[in-house]
């Protein structure tokens, strides 16, 4: 089956005074239409950079240094700035982390939706746009009078749902949600995630949920991609990730999770993530790995690909 999204060899670096930080290193990712992928990793593992690179929103000192992001046969990285502007929201849309800071405080919600729409279709009639705006509000289960309100009148959960409504206004093929619930309490979080799932199903787009909460991934995603120090170390279906994770880092991550059955047990991952300026040689995880082998210190592991675009990057699984 043809892939909706095909990312190959995506590499992003940040150039700062103390040197080059490789935030994304040769990342590959493929998604089919309607698939839901969770992108997890610690802070600084490159998950937000990945979302921004797909949107072509990396700003200096960051730089996309290679690779391709092909959506429906078109490489986003080769488009002109003007063409890319048209693709955002209509082909690929991004729901940011802090909903409270991403809405314009002096404009009504309605105005912000109309602006977003007009940026793509300047000559459409207002009635037509308002119909779509009402429909978007209905699909995130907000009352229509919210359109007439300003952001400060809304709660955090409502603002986040407004962001989702704007994000789906043009029925994009891919929705990227970057930690959409990190500032919300559990009840609101559940409501936002369920909303996201419902609209994703309704418009049939692929969804990438960026976050570090494995619980949310277990509740609502089909696949999970685990990032470590700028690389995807494992992509697998959610079942495998939770029941028989392959990569030692994924294994450590899963066993560090608090569950109902293991009350009072704490298993943190020893050590800390490496600085992106001074990455360890060989496998980037080897200093913290409990299954380290001699070649891990010297050679970078290759991808071991399983069926359905799943893979793990670890010497333990390399065919000999």
């Amino acid at each position: 089956m043809e892939h909706l999204l095909d990312i190959t060899g995506l590499t992003v670096s940040y150039y700062t005074d103390i040197g080059r930080a490789i935030a994304l290193n040769q990342v590959d990712l493929r998604l089919k239409q309607g698939e839901k992928l969770g992108l997890v990793g610690e802070s600084g593992s490159g998950k937000s950079t990945m979302g921004l690179a797909m949107m072509r929103m990396i700003k200096p000192p960051g730089k996309v240094e290679g690779g391709s992001v092909v959506i429906g046969g078109v490489d986003m990285l080769q488009l002109s700035d003007k063409e890319m502007l048209k693709r955002r929201l209509s082909t690929i849309s991004y729901i940011p982390q802090g909903a409270m800071n991403s809405l314009n405080p002096v404009l009504k919600i309605k105005r912000q939706m109309i602006d977003a729409y007009r940026a793509h279709y300047p000559d459409h009639k207002l009635d037509q746009i308002m119909d779509l705006a009402h429909e978007a509000m209905r699909s995130v289960e907000l009352p229509e009078h919210v359109l007439e309100m300003h952001p400060h009148e809304l709660s955090g959960g409502m603002k986040q749902r407004v962001c989702i409504a704007i994000g789906i206004l043009l029925r994009p093929q891919i929705i990227i949600a970057d930690e959409p619930t990190s500032a919300l309490d559990v009840v609101t979080q559940r409501q936002v995630i369920e909303t996201l799932n419902r609209v994703q199903q309704k418009i049939g787009s692929a969804l990438i949920l960026i976050g570090h909460d494995m619980g949310l991934m277990a509740q609502s995603m089909d696949k999970v991609a685990v990032m470590y120090a700028g690389e995807i170390v494992e992509i697998n279906d959610v079942q495998t990730v939770f029941t028989s994770p392959k990569h030692p880092y994924t294994q450590a991550l899963i066993s560090s999770l608090p569950r109902l059955q293991n009350r009072g047990e704490f298993r943190g991952i020893p050590g800390m993530a490496p600085s992106l300026y001074r990455l360890p040689s060989g496998c980037r995880f080897h200093p913290r790995c409990n299954q380290q082998q001699p070649q891990c210190q010297t050679t970078s592991p290759r991808k071991s690909v399983f069926e359905d675009e799943k893979y793990v990057t670890c010497h333990l699984y390399e065919a000999t």
């Binding site: 610690e42 959960g157 009840v187 559940r190 369920e194 619980g215 277990a218 029941t243 560090s256």
Partner: protein, 330 residues
């Protein structure tokens, strides 16, 4: 050595914004005393009054009614030396591991200031030893931490240093306001482990404030569930989490995204939390409750249902023979 006690007596807090009155905290009484030491969780969503409660306990905020008693004396009337004793023994850890550091000082500074303040006259070597012990107590290697600057450390390390700072002067009570909510999930385990070891090894009583019931379940002995300033349910943590009685607690527990494929979100629909609550009389959860009845428009009392398990809900008749005092049920 006597154990320090911190007691809340009918403490409430009312905020006035123009003509609008917000009951941030309705009268609540319990004590944090401790032998053996305990970890008590205060849980609730944003706006439930949990940070107000913490600020009052720390003496940072004056309650509208009621008293905070430290070793039997009202905190607001403590004399200079008594107040110093209160400040020394009741320590805090706050939410943001980035905001409390001064980027121009080495980490040592943050740890050394409280020692100089509360244990003046210690030699340099003794101070160093106290710092090393505190860092080891939270699972950090002193050699990797001392002499470093804040920007050289990760969020998880910084938050553990905050815990170390709080315990370097050996307090008896620790109020931890959302200590892990800004830390990566993979690093939370280390900080929570540090809290538990404080209780075990240093007999520190901890008030753990959070909206995350998963971590609460793992570290604490008992729990108080707040909603819009009122206690909905309280008691032994395993009882409350494993068989919640109040519809609000049930909603909270059912909304936890357990990292477990066997335990998915149920399909029960709850009314939208965005609906404005009617203030005044009645159960605070009335407008969202799936099981509401007409009599719920009168405020329910917090009553015992089982040993070590209280709830304030009219669905559940009280068991008269059980102890209704909040402290005794924690």
């Amino acid at each position: 050595m006597s154990t320090a006690t911190l007691e809340l007596k009918n403490v409430s807090k009312l905020y006035r914004v123009g003509k609008k009155e917000v009951h941030a905290l309705n009268p609540i009484s319990f004590d944090l005393l401790g032998d053996p030491a305990r970890i008590i969780t205060v849980a609730g969503e944003s706006g439930s009054g949990k940070t107000t409660l913490a600020s009052i306990m720390l003496g940072l905020l004056e309650p509208t009614t009621g008293q905070v008693l430290y070793e039997g004396k009202d905190v607001s009337t403590l004399s200079g030396s008594q107040y110093r004793d209160f400040r020394k023994n009741v320590q805090a850890v706050f939410q943001d591991p980035f905001a409390v550091f001064n980027p121009f000082y080495q980490v040592d500074h943050l740890l050394e200031v409280p020692i100089r303040k509360f244990n003046p006259g210690l030699s340099k070597a003794a101070r160093r030893k106290a710092m090393e012990e505190a860092l080891e107590a939270v699972g950090l290697q002193p050699s990797e931490i001392l002499g470093r600057y804040p920007h050289q450390l990760s969020g998880g390390q910084r938050q553990r240093i905050n815990v170390a700072r709080a315990i370097v002067i050996k307090p008896k009570i620790l109020v931890a306001d959302e200590p892990v909510s800004m830390v990566d999930a993979s690093l939370r385990a280390n900080i929570l482990e540090a809290l538990v070891s404080l209780r075990e090894n240093h007999k520190v009583n901890i008030l753990y404030i959070t909206h995350d019931l998963t971590t609460a379940y793992h570290v604490s002995d008992s729990i108080i569930v707040l909603y819009r300033g009122s206690v909905m349910e309280a008691g032994d943590i395993t009882k409350v989490v494993e068989s919640p009685q109040h519809p609000y607690t049930q909603l909270l527990i059912n909304s936890i995204p357990w990292p477990d494929l066997e335990r998915k979100w149920d399909n029960q629909q709850y009314a939208n939390p965005d609906i404005q609550e009617i203030s005044g009389e009645g159960c605070k959860f009335y407008s969202r409750c799936p099981n509401r009845k007409p009599e719920c428009q009168q405020t329910p009392n917090l009553v015992p249902l089982f040993p070590k398990h209280l709830a304030s809900c009219r669905l559940h008749p009280p068991k008269a023979d059980l102890d209704a005092h909040l402290t005794n049920n924690l």
